[in-house]
Symmetry: C2
Subunit: 152 residues, 2 copies
Amino acid sequence: MSRFAHKPVLELADAHAQGLHSIGEAAKITGVSAKMIRHYETLGLVKPTDRTYANYRVYQTRDIHLLRFIKSGRDLGFSMKQIAILASLWQDSQRSSAEVKKLALEHISDMDERIKSLQQMRQALSDLAAQCHGDNRPDCPILDGLACTHKH
Amino acid sequence: MSRFAHKPVLELADAHAQGLHSIGEAAKITGVSAKMIRHYETLGLVKPTDRTYANYRVYQTRDIHLLRFIKSGRDLGFSMKQIAILASLWQDSQRSSAEVKKLALEHISDMDERIKSLQQMRQALSDLAAQCHGDNRPDCPILDGLACTHKH
DNA sequence: CTAAGGCTTACCATCGTGGGAAGGTCAACA
DNA sequence: TGTTGACCTTCCCACGATGGTAAGCCTTAG
């Protein structure tokens, strides 16, 4: 019953024949887990174009590109909210690159803050650790530092 | 009915008279929210010594110290699991400072990894942003970079 | 036909924190 | 005395991104 059905793809075999992808294939291709692909769908980010008779999700090349776009965004540390905005800009031919750059710079400064905060924690702890003998005795400047309401 | 009841503190007034603290006071003193103080109790970290007749939590100086210890640990980026261990070491006179130092060094190297990862993301994004004009035109190297499965 | 493995939905867990509801208690003031 | 407002109690829900698991259907290879 596959025949030459054209618009609504009806069977998995048809889908494959047309270069379309099941969720598992999309996952392998893009590096986004099937779990996450479904999750992004609930967020309204990636809607599969069709379903097979058996209710399987069917993805087109366009969807694959979008998933890769999302993955790259995550790899760069953008939140899903930011990625949703970026994806809509990506698909908007009327966008201005200034909008995108603004988001990017904001995210960079977020990361700068997080880096700075981590470095400060790291330094403070490392200072304490440097004073600690690390032997069998119980005396421990690290614990003392934690107990003494360090700086504030 | 307050009188001179000694052991189980019965009323809030008694508690105050004995230098004990309600959860709200403990929160103000330690900088840990009442919400979190209750949460730490469910984690088995800080059990109030007593309750008043009205079932209010009553904290002793020892508990205040412990809350401050926890807060310092959080400020240094330790997880609650790590803090639970550190707190038990803190209260264990038989501890060896080596145990504490080991935890600290592990945490430092965790932070180092996170810092490095953030710095890499920051650098990659910043490289893309540097190529972006940020004007009214839609051409955008940032979006191009996200779309083109950047590096992997 | 059967067994393996992919797909579906739906629910729960993480981790630390905050918010809110519904109800009891305390302190101060009229 | 009564009221009011601030505080306390427990219980449940939310975030963000991801993983896990279970029960049940579908597909495909043998």
